[in-house]
């Protein structure tokens, strides 16, 4: 038997290598940011509005607002496109072209820094000034914080999310607990009282503290300590912020007290989908949960018979006076810098974000918190006591959010990873992990410049 000659083998090798080389990827994007606000808002025109809502009731609700807008502005027609993700938004804004959106909304406040910093969205300050809108008096402070980056107000809030504590009233009564916890010590005590073990698992867990436990993520917990994530010069402050460190220590203590990470993880793996009817709070698997205002609407609309109450999430023991605050996030809306119809687009953005009736009606239908001062104070807002708790959290002056960053939510991911390693015991040196996280955040931001 003889093999191929070396030359032939080399030739074949070369051919195969060339074929494999097709793996090499390239992205020669040629996005354009040319646009302008020179269009006549009174001219007959059609603008394209991308949004992320996808459920039939949500689409019906936003379409209701669009219909009302078109009635008030008969010359502006709106072509709404639903179920849009941030990936699609980012790619379309770079690609530009006639099918690119004029108005864009996003559920991810994390990306506002990128949207503003890259000039993907236009700065709305001049539009607001022209329309006589004072942002500071129109919108609550946290909502203004997460819709701008370094003074560039490139988005506005379109409804908000506030986070609080859901608790199972029956479980509380069974455990002899008369009121929801107000401090972290009380939360721990109640969580332990409410926990019923079964074998090496649980028949009921008082509270799921693990960072994969749906909304129990670092940023939502950390808001109760009101951390300062960045210094004035834009560098990371996470290694020095006492609140952030305290939060990690509190969570780890709770994890260990409730049976340890592995045991809790095994129990977490029995949970149903967060946004389905098998959500662990809705099935009674957990007696308390940190969650957003939408959960109440979901429970009310589902077959779940859980008798629930809502309260602000507990605060650290040394900040008892700030009880009532919470983490605030929400949907943002802006105008694509590639849009040739920015004045018409602004009319839609202005209507959706500042018209009190539009904001309140939309908020009531999709169970979100209104996002302007007037709409929060409106008597037309859903008066359900549970929902009203979230209104109060949104109005609380100590409520806060995660600040925008030039590279989006990358720093939150870094902090979340610190949490995963610390709660699981993979890393026991918390300060060392935070020091490294700070370095990582600074390196990521430098890379994005």
């Amino acid at each position: 038997m003889t093999g191929p000659t070396p030359t032939r083998a080399l030739r074949r090798t070369g051919a195969a290598v060339a074929a494999v080389a097709a793996l090499a990827l390239a992205s020669a994007c040629t996005g354009s940011t040319s646009g302008g606000a020179n269009d006549d808002p009174n001219a007959e025109t059609t603008i394209t509005f991308w949004h992320g809502w996808s459920a039939p009731s949500e689409i019906k609700a936003i379409q209701g607002n669009i219909d009302a807008f078109e009635k008030a502005h008969p010359n502006i027609h709106v072509k709404a496109v639903s179920n849009i993700t941030d990936d699609k938004i980012n790619q379309a804004l770079r690609a530009g072209g006639p099918n690119a959106p004029d108005v864009v909304s996003s559920f991810t406040t994390d990306n506002v820094g990128e949207f503003c910093g890259s000039r993907a969205f236009v700065d709305l300050s001049s539009f607001m000034k022209k329309s006589g809108i004072d942002a500071a008096s129109t919108f609550p402070a946290p909502q203004l914080a997460y819709t701008q980056f370094e003074g560039n107000q490139c988005t506005l809030p379109l409804l908000s999310d506030a986070y609080g504590l859901y608790y199972n009233k029956k479980s509380f009564a069974d455990a002899g607990i008369s009121a929801p916890p107000r401090t972290m010590s009380e939360l721990k005590a109640d969580a332990l009282k409410l926990t019923k073990t079964k074998g090496d698992g649980y028949a009921q867990l008082g509270f799921m503290p693990n960072y994969h436990g749906y909304e129990s993520v670092v940023s939502h917990f950390a808001a109760m300590w009101s951390p300062t994530y960045f210094n004035d010069d834009g560098t990371s402050n996470v290694a020095k912020d006492p609140g952030l460190k305290a939060m990690y220590l509190w969570q780890k203590d709770l994890v260990d007290s409730l049976g340890g990470y592995q045991r809790l993880e095994r129990y977490r793996n029995t949970f149903g989908d967060e946004f389905g009817s098998k959500n662990p709070f809705m099935t009674g698997q957990v007696a308390m949960a940190i969650d957003g205002e939408w959960r109440g609407g979901m429970i009310d609309d589902s077959d779940s018979d859980v008798d629930y109450g809502v309260a602000p999430f507990p605060v650290p023991d040394d900040q008892a006076a700030q009880y009532g605050k919470g983490y605030i996030s929400g949907t943002v809306i802006g105008i694509a810098s590639t849009s040739k119809k920015q004045n018409a687009a602004w009319e839609l953005v202005r209507y959706l974000t500042t018209d009190t009736k539009a904001v309140v009606d939309f908020a009531n239908v999709i169970h979100n918190v209104p996002s302007t001062q007037d709409s929060l104070a409106s008597s037309d807002v859903d008066q359900n006591p549970a929902f009203q708790e979230f209104i109060k959290i949104a109005q609380n002056q100590d409520s806060n959010t995660t600040p925008s960053s030039p590279n989006g939510g990358a720093y939150q991911l870094t902090l979340q990873n610190v949490g995963y390693d610390y709660e699981s015991g993979k890393n026991t040196d918390l300060q060392g992990a935070l020091d490294k996280a700070a370095e990582q955040i600074d390196a990521d931001i430098a890379q994005s410049q």
Binding site: M1, T2, G3, P4, R8, R12, T13, A16, V17, A18, V20, A21, A22, L23, A24, L25, A26, S27, A28, C29, G31, T33, D86, D87, N90, R94, F107, T108, T109, D110, E114, S118, A120, H212, Y214, E265, Y267, R268, N269, T270, F271, D273, E274, F275, G292, W294, S329, N407, G409, A410, Q412, L413, T414, Q416, Y420, D421, S424, A443, Q447, S448
Partner: protein, 312 residues
């Protein structure tokens, strides 16, 4: 023939050759050389799709190799998957191929049963596996529990997530089974008979008759397997996302490679950096790393395996 007419004829021949080659040249230029050169170009630029590209030297390379925390875990995972999944898929594909051609009755049924999973969409197959292997409620662990056996965390345990992905890859073994089956049926029977007369046992017949005939197929399976693992995206991404319970979150950051980065692969980083963070320069660095790795594996396999030709 005059030298002028000879030169004219050579020119005509050259043009004709070029005309015949032009589709290949065009395709190679557009879909290979241009992307490759662009990738190398952008790997030394800062480019976010909005501002014009800006030369930053080796900054992207330094970032990826020294500061980007997901690169080395993804590299280790990719190498693990190349070595384990490709090897096991070849061994199991060959074993099933050999078994199926021996089945006298109902061979068609077995071929269909083994091939059908390969036709399942990757997302659907992955979702099914995540639910089957759910550590708490999945039927696999329920059965293991009844048998008194350990119940792994599968896609929720960093130590078991890659073996779970390997099981998923072996479930879809149908493509290799068919190729190996066809190659096995092509081995001349008389060579087996001759070997048997010479006193060769089953193992030696396999080693000295089957394997030499299968060599080009083995090299093909290895090269395409390596390429597939270098492009491995959908299954680990979906498995990590579903197992972590992060689908449909209200805008929170999604943990890459859940659990603990154990399902992170290099193509996921290319997408994340290039099309989510729009750090196209850093994404191009990883694309080039993938290219070099693919080349190394391909060269190694081609040279060790003597190309796509069977031994005489």
């Amino acid at each position: 023939m005059t030298s002028t007419s000879l030169a004219a004829r050579r020119r005509r021949d050259a043009l004709r050759t070029l005309a015949f080659l032009s589709p290949w040249l065009l395709g190679t230029g557009l879909f290979f050389l241009y992307p490759l050169v662009s990738t190398a170009y952008f790997s030394v630029m800062r480019y976010d799709g909005f501002a014009p590209p800006r030369f930053t030297g080796l900054r992207n390379w330094e970032f990826v190799f020294q500061s980007y925390p997901f690169f080395w875990p993804a590299m280790r995972n990719t190498v693990w998957l190349v070595l384990v999944v490709v090897t096991l898929r070849m061994l199991v594909g060959l074993a099933i191929g050999m078994l199926v051609i021996r089945v006298k009755r109902g061979g068609g049924l077995f071929r269909t049963l083994y091939y059908a999973p390969y036709l399942a969409p990757p997302v659907a197959g992955t979702l099914a596996f995540v639910f089957l292997l759910n550590p708490g409620t999945g039927p696999v662990n329920v059965i293991l529990g009844h048998l008194g056996l350990p119940q792994p965390g599968w896609f929720n345990d960093p130590a078991w997530s890659k073996p779970a992905l390997t099981l998923l890859a072996l479930w879809g073994i149908g493509d290799l089974m068919v190729i190996f089956m066809a190659a096995l049926l092509d081995v001349p029977r008389e060579q087996y008979e001759a070997a048997e007369l010479d006193g060769a046992g089953a193992f030696n017949r396999f080693r000295f008759v089957t394997v030499p005939h299968l060599r080009p197929i083995l090299v093909f399976a290895a090269v395409t397997g390596v390429i597939a693992m270098m492009q491995y995206y959908t299954e680990p991404f979906v498995a990590g996302l579903v197992a972590s319970g992060q689908i449909g979150g209200s805008g929170q950051q999604v943990e890459p490679g859940y659990p603990a980065g154990s399902t992170l692969t290099l193509p996921q980083l290319v997408y994340n950096l290039g099309f989510q963070r729009f750090d196209i320069g850093a994404a191009c660095v990883i694309a080039l790393v993938l290219f070099v790795l693919s080349m190394l594996f391909a060269v190694l396999l081609m040279r060790r395996g003597s190309g796509f030709l069977a031994e005489d």
